[in-house]
Amino acid sequence: MADFEIKDLRASVEGRQILKGVSLDINKGEVHAVMGPNGSGKSTLSHTLMGHPGYSVDGGSVMFKGQNILDLEPDERARLGMFLALQYPVVVPGISMANFLRTALNSHRGYDGKDKSKAVSPKEFRGLLKDKLKVLHMDDSFLSRYINDGFSGGEKKRAEILQMAVLKPEIAILDETDSGLDIDSIKFVAEAVNRMRGPNLGVLIITHYTRILEFIQPDFVHVLVDGKFVLSGGSEVAERLEKTGYSEWGHAEETTPQEVA
């Protein structure tokens, strides 16, 4: 049995079925890429896995650590060891990144405001962040800013990966982390993710383009079209998509990003 087992997952948005039976086994230590054209259900997959209230599950199961996580609240899923790096991280005014990260970390440790011994100390917190900020080429000033407030596209995505590095998930879903990123940011993000790779982490990279896969080598690539996987294989699948795009499934879209002038 795989560490993270998606079985016949069906989900809909506003009454419209988007995922039409998705099955996928992810083991820790593996990096899977899910690729697909626009509208294929990539975002629905990532949001449904994390329990976003806008997506409803119509069937199937997702087993992780002996539980069907579809029965859990989003925060319970996170504390169980799941993480979702959002395609569009939201700006939350009034809450500093430091407060956000500290509260998230404390929640993972079971600190509920009572047993102070469970809370992360300021010293430990600083130590924890120092190297991670460096790898992501972020400076301390990020921490005093409000969540994603005034961050550039690249900064937002790097801040997502910083949160991942701090929370140390066992299953991480990166939803279009490469979209809207300059090449430097992609490299920083990829380096940070590659450092976290190892026997304790399974990764699901969701992407339209093959570009990020040049920097984070996937073990498995799956092609999602119209809510179902149409092809699964090793990294050669990404190479094939690089050449032919999604046209063989009736989609004429590019798999490499347009250069932005």
């Binding site: 009034g94 956000f100 929640s107 993972h108």
Partner: protein, 397 residues
């Protein structure tokens, strides 16, 4: 027991001129009709069940406490208002109820007739007071009236901070409460004023705050409204000299069946003046709030800047916030913005925090604190900021 001139007999030891003022205000109270719901100001604000005569026993008198900086600079006068009326008649008599007019409505008249103490602060020209001056007004009993009045006179180029704290000994007591303030800012004065209203949850509360700002003066006025089953607050700044700058901020948190009403006025009487208003409130349970704000820019007040925003975070389906921004602009050469929002916690924000493992109640609390965050940063001095943060934290729970 009805409110008559015998009610005034509870206020002994005052100079004759003040007693005459009170008698006159009492006559005004008797003459004025009860507010009608056909008046725009009272359309959503129901006082039909209030009978002030139930609360004709006056409490408090000079029972306020002043927390003073260790030593006040030479020439600063800080006295109970009733004492100052005797000792500093020349300073008090011409100003008392000259900004807040006794005939504004029945409740203002009642406050002017019966005000039960309060503070007089006079800071002479050029004097700077480093540490904040704090007036604490306590209520001790249910069924009484506690009606403190603050009169502040800021001399030319003076600079200081003042905090009024309205505190109930028993959170469940009923009664009639007010807490009104008049602030005179002479040229170049810089005043920080904070009022924290945490009366009991069953009282009727009426407050009139009005400031007059002369040339180049600046006022940072901050209100915190937490108490009362009914609380009506008027905040008015009269920008009467070029270069005058008024920052009017407020936060409120209404829960249970509390009803809060705020009416504000940014009155730009001359040009080259600036006002910036931000009122932010959270509502839970079956609470209701009404905000109505007017920016008035008079004909000759060119090159004025006026900003007004009211933001409401509605935490329950049964709570209701109403926001009515109004503009009255008689000059084209001005910059003016206003806006109002009423809405729940953003579900995307909530999901984002929860997706990081933060439980829903904690995430909601953080979002409420975050909502107030930018306005809390504008509290003009540290002591008040800490006090308000602690109060808010206990309300957010």
């Amino acid at each position: 027991m009805a409110i008559t001139s015998e009610t005034l007999d509870q206020l002994q030891g005052e100079p004759g001129w003040l007693r005459e003022r009170r008698e006159s205000a009492l006559a005004t109270f008797e003459r004025l009709p009860a507010p009608s719901r056909t008046d725009e100001e009272w359309r959503r604000t129901d006082v039909s069940r209030l009978d002030p005569s139930r609360f004709s026993k006056l409490e408090h008198l000079d029972g306020h406490e002043l927390v003073l900086p260790e030593a006040l600079p030479e020439g600063v006068i800080l006295e109970p208002l009733r004492v100052a009326a005797e000792k500093h008649r020349d300073l008090v008599e011409p100003r008392l109820f000259s900004l807040v007019h006794a005939d504004r409505d029945r409740f203002t008249a009642l406050h002017a007739a019966l005000f039960t103490g309060g503070t007089f602060l006079y800071v002479p020209d050029g004097v700077v007071v480093d540490k904040p001056i704090i007036g604490q007004h306590f209520s001790h009993e249910a069924g009484t009236s506690v009606l403190p009045h603050t009169l502040i006179v800021a001399g030319k180029g003076s600079k200081f901070d003042y905090l009024d704290e309205y505190i109930a000994e028993n959170d469940g007591e009923d009664g009639y409460r007010s807490g009104s303030t008049e602030i005179f800012l002479d040229e170049g004065a810089q005043v920080g004023y904070v009022a924290v209203q945490k009366w009991g949850r069953n009282v009727w509360h009426f407050s009139d705050q009005r400031a007059e700002l002369l040339k180049d003066s600046s006022l940072h006025l901050f209100n915190v409204t937490l108490g009362g089953k009914f609380s009506k607050t008027r905040v008015e700044a009269s920008l009467a000299g070029p270069g005058a700058d008024a920052e009017l901020k407020a936060i409120y948190f209404a829960s249970g069946e509390q009803f809060f009403d705020f009416h504000t006025l940014q009155d730009h009487r001359v040009g080259n003046t600036r006002s910036d208003l931000l009122f932010k409130g959270a509502l839970s349970d079956a609470a209701r709030t009404v905000y109505a704000g007017l920016i008035r820019i008079e004909k000759h007040a060119a090159r004025s800047d006026a900003y007004q925003a009211n933001r409401n975070l509605v935490l329950s389906d049964h709570a209701k916030a109403t926001s009515v921004p109004m503009l009255e602009i008689d000059n084209n050469d001005v910059r003016c913005t206003h806006g109002a929002t009423v809405g729940p916690v953003d579900p995307e924000h909530l999901f984002y925090l929860r997706s990081r493992g933060i439980p829903e109640p904690t995430a909601k609390r953080m979002l409420i604190q975050g909502f107030f965050g930018d306005v809390l940063d504008r509290i003009p001095f540290e002591h008040a900021r800490r006090l308000v943060e602690a109060e808010l934290e206990s309300r957010i729970g």
